[in-house]
């Protein structure tokens, strides 16, 4: 399969990329690793007139601490997350989740930010980042803006990013104190999209929940942030009844469809079970952290 013909531009600086997008952004697609875009081009689901390959931009492949955040640059690949001892220590949910994404070869090229911007409702990074309350840093020739991930996804493969913008990094608030996360994914085989995946992140204050994040994959037209379930947890001590109630609320927020991976009713129930398991695992991990 060949993509339809396109012009190709590989800018050597961010300024050059932004000026090209200012000119031709409406007809262009930005490519980082290409592991989502190239399959779409080959299937001709996407036929941009121009592909802007940001893969050679300098200084965008860094993972670093930045003012209470972890800043993951736009060219950080999945494999870089897998190998990051700093993320394993500071944001272990990312490292737990990344092992479930695609397969090792795709992880050698695909990027975290590219996956988020691709906005596939079956993507895993979207739900992990929603649970972590991450935000994107977007640049255009008129400046920089920070976009909270909550609200970024507008539909399948559709986001609030403007055609003249490039996301240069994603910022994850550093989990502080007694915090823990957990990622559960049901997939038919390695490399398949999730039937259902659930990301959970908790932060405790004493025995009570201070912050809760729950993100859902493959059960709606976008990755879903289960806000009602999150709110039900905050300020309370977790027990089996509350965990069951939050799981019920998260399942109610899911809007899956019947397909060859399962019926909608089945997927909703997997959400319920995975949120329960996720909350229990995240709680146990948070409790292990010495205050």
């Amino acid at each position: 399969m060949f993509p339809a013909a396109f012009d190709y531009h590989a800018p050597s600086s961010l300024a050059e990329a932004l000026s090209v997008l200012k000119e031709r952004g409406d007809d262009a697609k930005v490519m980082a690793g290409g592991q989502s875009l190239i399959p779409l081009l080959k299937l001709r689901f996407a036929q941009p007139a121009l592909v802007v390959d940001i893969g050679r931009l300098p200084g965008m492949a860094e993972i670093k601490r930045d003012d209470g955040h972890m800043r993951v640059g736009a060219l950080v690949r999945h494999v870089d997350v897998e190998r990051s001892t700093e993320l394993a220590k500071l944001v272990p949910l990312m490292v737990e989740g990344v092992h479930w994404i695609a397969d090792p070869l795709v992880r050698n090229r695909g990027t975290v930010v590219g996956s988020v911007c691709h906005a596939d409702p079956a993507g895993d990074w979207g739900s992990i980042m929603l649970a972590l309350n991450a935000e994107l840093v977007a640049q255009s020739s008129s400046g920089e803006r920070v976009i909270p991930l909550d609200g970024f996804f507008q539909g399948p493969f559709t986001t609030s990013l403007r055609p003249d913008e490039v996301v240069t990094a994603i910022r994850i608030p550093l989990p502080a104190g007694r915090a823990g996360g957990s990622f559960h994914k049901l997939e038919r085989k390695v490399g398949d999209f999730a039937t259902v995946a659930v990301s959970v992140q908790l932060q405790l204050d004493g025995n009570k929940v201070k912050k809760a994040g729950i993100g859902l994959t493959s059960v709606g037209s976008t990755n879903i942030k289960a806000k009602q379930a999150e709110q039900a947890l905050v300020g309370h001590e977790l027990n089996d009844d509350l965990i069951a109630e939050a799981a019920r609320l998260a399942a109610a927020a899911a809007e899956p469809k019947d397909d060859n991976r399962g019926t909608a009713a089945y997927k909703k129930d997997v959400v319920r079970v995975y949120v329960q398991r996720g909350l229990k695992a995240a709680l146990a991990r948070a409790q292990e952290v010495k205050a």
Binding site: M1, F2, P3, A4, A5, F6, D7, Y8, A10, G34, Q35, I38, P39, L41, K42, V51, D53, G55, V79, A102, D103, P104, L105, V106, N108, R109, V190, G191
Partner: protein, 169 residues
């Protein structure tokens, strides 16, 4: 547009459209047909090659993305008549039946051995989890990789003996 990369240690160029995939550039422009096209949808791994030492699926890389990079294909494994340890492993342990997945399997597992010279069964299975064999399963592929790992370890201890065992000069 013109694209230039090092393929198996030799600088190669071509004049191609940007939409040409790396696997097609290798097979059609450079006549390196050892790299196979299987599913053409990033699923099977038959097209696996190494870019700068890391295995990737060449059906999902544009040739222009490899501009200036170091690409290694199955044709770059052997040194003249001397098979690479990974090739000897697949030969000795019957790690293939039809052979269609084999170039991809070897490019992935030789990269694994570079990073991890003594992998466990689980680590080998993890590494090849993006590569599909539809003939016979994975038992002998795992054995082949372990065989190669052992050969490499022996080569470090006794270089001359290992070269003979590997069919070398």
């Amino acid at each position: 547009m013109k694209v230039t990369m090092r393929v198996n240690g030799v600088e190669r160029s071509g004049d191609i459209e940007p939409r040409v995939l790396l696997v097609d550039f290798l097979r059609t422009n450079l006549a390196l047909t050892g790299t196979h096209v299987g599913c053409d949808t990033t699923s099977c791994g038959a097209c696996s090659v190494q870019i700068d030492g890391e295995p990737v699926k060449s059906c999902t890389v544009l040739a222009v993305q490899a501009e200036g990079r170091e690409v290694k294909t199955v044709e770059g494994l052997a040194n003249g008549a001397a098979l690479a340890p990974i090739q000897v492993g697949f030969h000795e342990e019957h790690g293939l039946q039809c052979g269609f997945c084999t170039p991809g399997m070897m490019m992935v597992t030789s990269a694994l051995l570079e990073r991890n010279p003594n992998p466990t069964d689980d680590e080998i299975r993890w590494a090849i989890s993006g590569n599909i064999c539809r003939c016979t399963g994975y038992m002998n592929i795992v054995k082949a990789v372990k065989h190669a790992a052992q050969m490499q370890a022996e080569a470090v201890k006794a270089p001359e003996h290992a070269a003979v065992a590997g069919g070398g000069e």
